[in-house]
């Protein structure tokens, strides 16, 4: 019987070989064309200003109706270098290819299970410029009846030596007030490394909980949204998230991280937004949850898993935290929200790994 099977098999192959040519097999699934990272089971997100849309970039390129401040424009392969490649101290990170910048909905190539990444951004427009003259207005709260003022609270750290942002279009010379986007007395940097950072003292009134109480008004802004496409993940798949960040403690002198002052606390929640990519990308900043942000309090999306991790470091460290994201427990989870509860921090990198689609529990 075995010999007969082999014989039939050979006959089959010899008969069909010429007909099933390689040209036909090269027609890969459409999903793979749209998402070249579809077969990449992991992604690295480096929170450097070069990988996200920020106020300065917005004036010059990739200015589309579906692209707002704080949206990711580039992601990286996990088998390349990490964030430290930016400093030249390690291997350079390997980016997934950029797509056509005219492609509104797919500004970057990344694994298809990752729908979108954005950070809360509070420096969303230049206060002294003429309203409705900047493209960023569509992404900010400037059109609100009582617009939230822009703030350096949550943004990408500008280089210490500049160039500093300049408003565009420029106002005529002699215009009062002076259209300087950042008052010189308010330095907008932590260390000039150009990574995403939130500095607590600058967040007054930017939070979503209570605009009156000084401490609460600084809370719940400066977070990160990692939106997932669950249709591109197996039913039984979980994720591993590695977050590399550094918290700071404000002391008498900023350069001394430890001191009798504030501390940083981050929280990780798993949320169901049910939103499509175009909706996610078209939301004004800052995208905090609450009446002042992405969702109204009444329509706030359900937090399906709250505080799956709380990050607080007594020794403000550059460090990596490892968190398992149990997606398989609820099919509706489509957002990992890293919520800043309080404090100052700088975010370097987040990696997401798929832990395997298992038909049976591990160890069975």
């Amino acid at each position: 019987m075995k010999t007969f099977s082999k014989l039939i098999f050979i006959l089959v192959l010899s008969g069909c070989g010429p007909s099933v040519d390689m040209a036909s097999f090269s027609e890969v699934p459409a999903t793979a064309v749209e998402h070249p990272g579809a077969n990449e089971p992991a992604v690295r997100i480096i929170f450097h200003r070069d990988s996200f849309t920020n106020l300065e970039d917005f004036l010059s390129f990739q200015n589309t109706s579906f692209k707002c401040l704080g949206d990711m424009t580039r992601s990286y392969q996990v088998l390349g270098g990490d964030y430290s490649g930016v400093f030249g101290s390690s291997l350079n990170p390997i980016a997934f290819a950029d797509s056509d910048t005219g492609d509104d909905l797919h500004p970057t190539y990344h694994p298809s299970f990752l729908k979108h990444v954005s950070v809360d951004t509070t420096r969303t427009y230049y206060a002294e410029t003429v309203p409705a003259t900047l493209q960023t207005d569509a992404c900010s709260k400037r059109a609100d009846s009582v617009p939230l003022p822009p703030s350096p609270c949550a943004d990408f750290d500008p280089p210490i030596s500049g160039p500093f942002p300049a408003p565009s279009p420029l106002l005529p010379s002699g215009t009062s007030p002076d259209p300087t986007p950042e008052p010189p007395s308010t330095p907008a940097d932590i260390n000039g490394l150009e990574f995403y950072r939130v500095r607590d003292p600058w967040c007054l009134g930017q939070g979503s909980v209570d605009p009156i109480d000084p401490e609460l008004s600084k809370a719940y802004v400066g977070g990160v949204n990692l939106d997932l496409d669950r249709s591109k993940l197996g039913d039984r798949e979980d994720l591993l998230m590695l977050i590399t960040y550094q918290s700071f403690v404000e002391g008498d002198a900023w350069t001394y991280a430890m001191g009798p002052g504030d501390f940083t606390r981050l929280r990780v929640d798993l949320i169901a937004t049910g939103r499509a990519l175009d909706v996610l990308m078209n939301r004004p900043q800052p995208r905090v949850i609450g009446d002042l942000g992405e969702f109204s309090n009444a329509l706030a999306p359900p937090i399906l898993v709250k505080k799956i991790a709380t990050l607080e470091d007594p020794f403000p460290s550059l460090k990596t935290e490892s968190i398992v994201i149990p997606l398989s427990h609820n099919a509706l989870i489509d957002r990992i929200r890293i919520e800043r509860i309080r404090g100052t921090y700088q975010l370097y990198q987040i990696d997401l790994y798929r832990l395997g689609n298992r038909s049976i529990p591990a160890g069975s």
Binding site: H35, T320, S322
Partner: protein, 356 residues
């Protein structure tokens, strides 16, 4: 019959599964084959037909064994003392030097590497740490990198000996003595390396690994973990660290720092010499050596998602460097003597590897 279908054949080729979509044109060609095509599908047991709407981008499929049988975990006690995996006390006998990657190891024929010291053949323990077991079939080797023989003075990385700030028998790294191992090339000599056998008969395609590292890590200043204590401009937060270890993973045994960085392992340090401070000299907030407390022994779990990358065969806890090695005066200024992992450094006690 649908107008198109996906022809999907499970084939284990080291990377999981091959998925091919056959277009309408191909379908016509296959249909021309008629009965032979049908028979082919019967004999290829993994062959499936799906409608076009079921077309999928197969990223992680269940090709091969999801979970293999066999030993689920082991422990290596990182000591050359009695009861340790590296006993007897004479281990290591020589300091390993750069050599070609041996036959059977990942990367053979592609270059050289710095080997480490492996546990004794009888150095693998069950998870209780007392029962000896054979080396699991999914492990090719476990190695620790040493720069000096045990008992040698001014040793950067080796098994410790008696001393006020040393730790007898356990694998330890004294940053005070690592000045000549500051560059990324030489830094690769200090590591804990795990070499896997990714044969799916031993380690399933959907299995991941959990490392449990039992260790003590101590820094000099509580504000030294990535900030600039001297008040200057930071150009690289890693260079401001008292000590930096990362987890790397790779496909060959080439230098660990040339592999893919996975995560930071140290910091955090769990104890510091000073509560705060600046510059390279101790200040009033620093503990006197006599009253100094050692770092607590902690166990840290590191989940390695090997299911996401079937080619990764090497996992390496790698010392990358530290401020002490680039500026020895910095360490000596705080009063750290030679051979002082409990002043600035790390002491490793055990490594447990679990399949999960």
């Amino acid at each position: 019959m649908p107008s198109g279908f996906t022809f999907q054949r499970a084939a284990q080729r080291g990377q999981g599964q091959v998925s091919v979509t056959v277009s309408d044109k191909s379908f016509v060609k296959l249909r021309l084959c008629g009965l032979p095509a049908l028979i082919m599908c019967i004999f290829l047991s993994a062959c499936e037909m799906q409608t076009a709407t079921e077309e999928t981008s197969v990223a992680l499929s269940t090709a091969g064994k999801e979970f293999a049988s066999g030993t689920k975990g082991f422990k290596v006690i990182l000591s050359d003392g009695v009861g340790g995996s590296f006993s007897p006390l004479v281990s290591p006998a020589v300091v390993p030097v750069t050599t070609s990657i041996p036959v059977g190891y990942p990367g053979y024929g592609t270059g050289s590497y710095v080997p480490g010291v492996s546990p004794m053949a009888t150095g693998y323990f069950d998870l209780d740490g007392t029962t000896l077991i054979p080396k699991p079939s999914w492990i090719s080797d476990v190695q620790v990198g040493v720069t000096h023989l045990a008992g040698a003075g001014s040793a950067c990385a080796t098994f410790g000996r008696t001393g006020a700030f040393d730790e007898p028998n356990f694998y330890r790294v004294s940053e005070r003595d690592c000045a000549s191992y500051a560059s990324s090339t030489n830094a690769s000599q200090v590591f804990i390396r795990i070499i896997l056998n990714r044969d799916t008969a031993f380690l399933g395609t959907q299995e991941n690994l959990m490392l449990q590292v039992e260790y003590q890590a101590r820094g000099l200043r509580a504000n030294s973990d990535g900030t600039n204590s001297s008040g200057g401009t930071i150009t690289n937060p890693e260079l401001a660290l008292d000590q930096l270890w990362k987890v790397f993973w790779g496909q060959t045994l080439l230098s660990g720092v040339s592999s893919s960085p996975f995560s930071i392992f140290i910091p955090p340090n769990h104890a510091h010499w000073c509560k705060s401070g600046s510059g390279s000299a101790p200040d009033a907030s620093c503990d006197a050596p006599a009253g100094n407390q050692r770092a607590p022994i902690v166990t840290r779990q590191i989940l390695i998602p090997i299911a996401s990358s079937p080619k990764q065969t090497v996992i390496q806890l790698q010392r990358v460097g530290g401020r002490g090695s680039s500026d020895p005066n910095y360490v000596s200024g705080f009063g750290c003597p030679q051979d002082s992992p409990h002043c600035l450094g790390v002491v490793f006690r055990s490594l447990t590897v679990l399949r999960i």
